[in-house]
């Protein structure tokens, strides 16, 4: 070949991505070009490996959690969670901002993706916040950044994918996501509070226990879903896939029998949406497995690990480099392909440094979560901008403080592994 395979892969990936080719095809075409050009590789491999990548029991969980999340969306649970959050934190200065963030935390325990979180909560909260005099950019920034909790707090699509790639336990990763998620929530609320005090944003009436109980009753039912998932998986009753199945069934029972919001037609829509989303994810899994096969075959991940260790073997310097890399990668690549492509490359490095694989999973996830919040690839931000009817340029100044808060959370999680590893350690 006329240039080293590593560089050629990089050029193909970036070039095809910029051409607007769907990511799954970018990965598949890149892998196929390399395979067809390499005389030492038998091209029949293209017929073998993508199926093997998709043929995975663990990833059935992703489809099932998508069904559960979609049913709950159709059941209009966002309103119920907002009312409950409002009774808890509405009386604080900048009340609606805190309601927004706390609702995101509740919702993140049901939803596995940040975009569904931002869309569901933003469509209700952003108009309300605008009506109460909050600048649209501030409302959108709060919604967008707090939606990141969806991929940190279980269930999380990113953590399921990471478990698959890193051969780590989903149960341990889910347990490890809880405290970092709460930390992000706390730091975002503190940031919103300081800004609200400075700018004199309103409160939403006095605190009342009666209201907490009243709205709590409505929110209790949807909140059984995260309890089912957490107790089921962390308490050792279900595997993650089983928990997904039970969560999907329970959400359907709640929606069909208790809210009576989900008709047969709506249920079929749910299966369609979850089936398509799952296929989108899985086709990326399939083609990235083919590219991953080629990289492994060429021993590229090990070469990269050795090259980085050749520069420095200091734990903190390499860890910092990994963080910077994933943070930058997250700004230009979506979470799914980033985990599927980059984790296998950096895992040998993390292993050699002695970083716990569960801890590393949280570091990767938080980095990618922050990366989602910045252009050019900023799907979550774009959704909230669309709801708030503002441009990307308008939202950025408001985003900076919240992104700063998340960077503080990221730093703490890096320095103190116990934040992620304490809860999993209780599971043994």
């Amino acid at each position: 070949m006329f240039m080293s395979p590593g560089y050629m892969i990089l050029i193909l990936l970036v070039g095809l991505l910029m051409m607007g080719m769907p990511i799954a095809f970018v990965l598949g075409v890149t892998a196929s070009v390399m395979i067809m050009l390499d005389p030492a590789v038998v091209p029949q491999i293209i017929g073998l490996i993508p199926f093997g990548g998709a043929n995975n029991y663990l990833l059935v969980a992703a489809l099932l959690f998508m069904i559960a999340g979609e049913v709950m969306n159709q059941g209009k649970i966002a309103e119920k969670l907002i009312a409950f959050a409002s009774s808890l934190v509405g009386h604080v200065r900048g009340g609606l901002a805190h309601v927004n963030i706390l609702t995101s935390l509740f919702f993140s325990e049901i939803s596995g993706t940040a975009t569904s979180d931002a869309a569901a909560i933003g469509s209700v909260m952003i108009p309300q916040m605008k009506k109460r005099g909050y600048p649209p950019a501030f409302a959108a920034a709060v919604t967008s950044t707090s939606a990141t909790m969806a991929i940190i707090v279980p269930p999380s699509l990113n953590l399921i994918l990471y478990a698959y790639v890193a051969n780590a336990s989903i149960a341990q990763l889910f347990a490890a996501g809880i405290l970092p998620g709460f930390l992000v929530c706390f730091l975002l609320i503190m940031t919103a509070y300081l800004i609200s005090v400075k700018r004199g944003y309103p409160t939403e009436g006095a605190f009342s226990w009666a209201r907490v109980v009243d709205t709590g009753k409505d929110a209790a039912l949807p909140l059984t879903l995260p309890i089912l998932i957490l107790v089921g998986i962390l308490g050792g009753i279900f595997t993650a896939t089983e928990a997904g199945a039970v969560a999907a069934l329970w959400s359907i029972v709640m929606a069909a029998l208790l809210y009576r919001t989900v008709t047969l037609k709506a249920f079929i829509d749910t299966l369609r949406i979850a089936g398509k989303r799952s296929a989108m994810l899985m086709f990326i899994v399939a083609t990235s497995t083919l590219l991953g096969w080629y990289l492994t075959n060429q021993r590229i991940p090990q070469d990269i690990a050795n090259a980085i260790l050749g520069i420095s073997e200091n734990y903190w310097i390499v860890l910092l480099a990994i963080n910077v890399f994933f943070l930058l990668a997250g700004t230009i690549v979506h979470g799914t392909p980033a985990i599927l492509m980059l984790v296998p490359i950096f895992l040998p490095l993390a292993d050699q440094l002695g970083i716990d694989r569960v801890h590393f999973g949280l570091i990767v996830t938080i980095n990618l979560g922050i990366g989602q919040q910045t252009p050019p690839v900023a799907s979550v931000v774009l959704i909230t901008c669309a709801i708030a009817k503002i441009s990307l340029a308008q939202i950025i100044p408001s985003m900076l403080w919240f992104i700063g808060a998340m960077l503080v959370a990221l730093t703490l999680v890096n320095i103190f592994p116990a934040i992620s590893l304490f809860l999993p350690s209780l599971m043994l």
Binding site: F51, Y57, V60, L271, G275, K276, M282
Partner: protein, 173 residues
């Protein structure tokens, strides 16, 4: 409208409906199978032997059938900012190149995937009496449909019936 065009539109719609029905069915079957497996383990106290193998195979089949469907409905995830900023003519050229490369990948999946599916012959899954080739066939089928869909869209792009805008990927996550 020319009769050939009418036929293509008709077939295209039929294909979309068939893919839709398949994706919904497979998602529904997975939901039912997994819940039955949980029921068997906890209530009947007798685990099903196919609990892992069969759902994984169905998921893999869903992947390739669904990939063709998403190609048809233009819902694959991608990065569209740069392409959208180009002139209409450049967009047309680049979209044409994309469709050709995508059809090429579809063709490879169909050809080599077909050979692999055939190589499994009459072999059955380990845990249940279903032929492996049944599931493996989803890859060549999905690949062939991707070729077909991309070529029809390429024809649409060349004749001006489809604009590049219709072909840019979703930038949703």
């Amino acid at each position: 409208m020319a009769p050939l065009e009418k036929l293509i539109l008709h077939l295209d719609n039929a294909l979309k409906r068939a893919l839709d029905a398949l994706v919904i069915t497979m998602a529904g079957v997975l939901l039912v199978l997994l819940n039955y497996a949980v029921f068997a383990r906890f209530v009947l106290n007798s685990s099903v032997s196919w609990g892992e193998e069969l759902p994984a195979q169905i998921l893999a089949a869903l992947t390739f059938i669904g990939a063709a469907y998403l190609t048809r409905t233009n819902e694959h995830l991608g990065f569209d900012s740069v392409a959208r900023s180009l002139s209409p003519l450049m967009q047309r050229v680049i979209m044409g190149a994309n469709l050709l490369l995508m059809a090429w990948l579809g063709g490879l999946l169909a050809w080599y995937g077909g050979k692999v599916a055939l190589s499994f012959g009459t072999r059955l899954l380990i845990s249940v009496d279903l032929p492996m080739a049944l599931f493996r066939a989803a890859m060549p089928l999905g690949g062939a449909l991707i070729v077909l869909i991309c070529l029809v869209r390429l024809a649409g792009l060349v004749t001006g019936r489809i604009t590049p805008d219709d072909l840019l990927p979703e930038s949703d996550d």
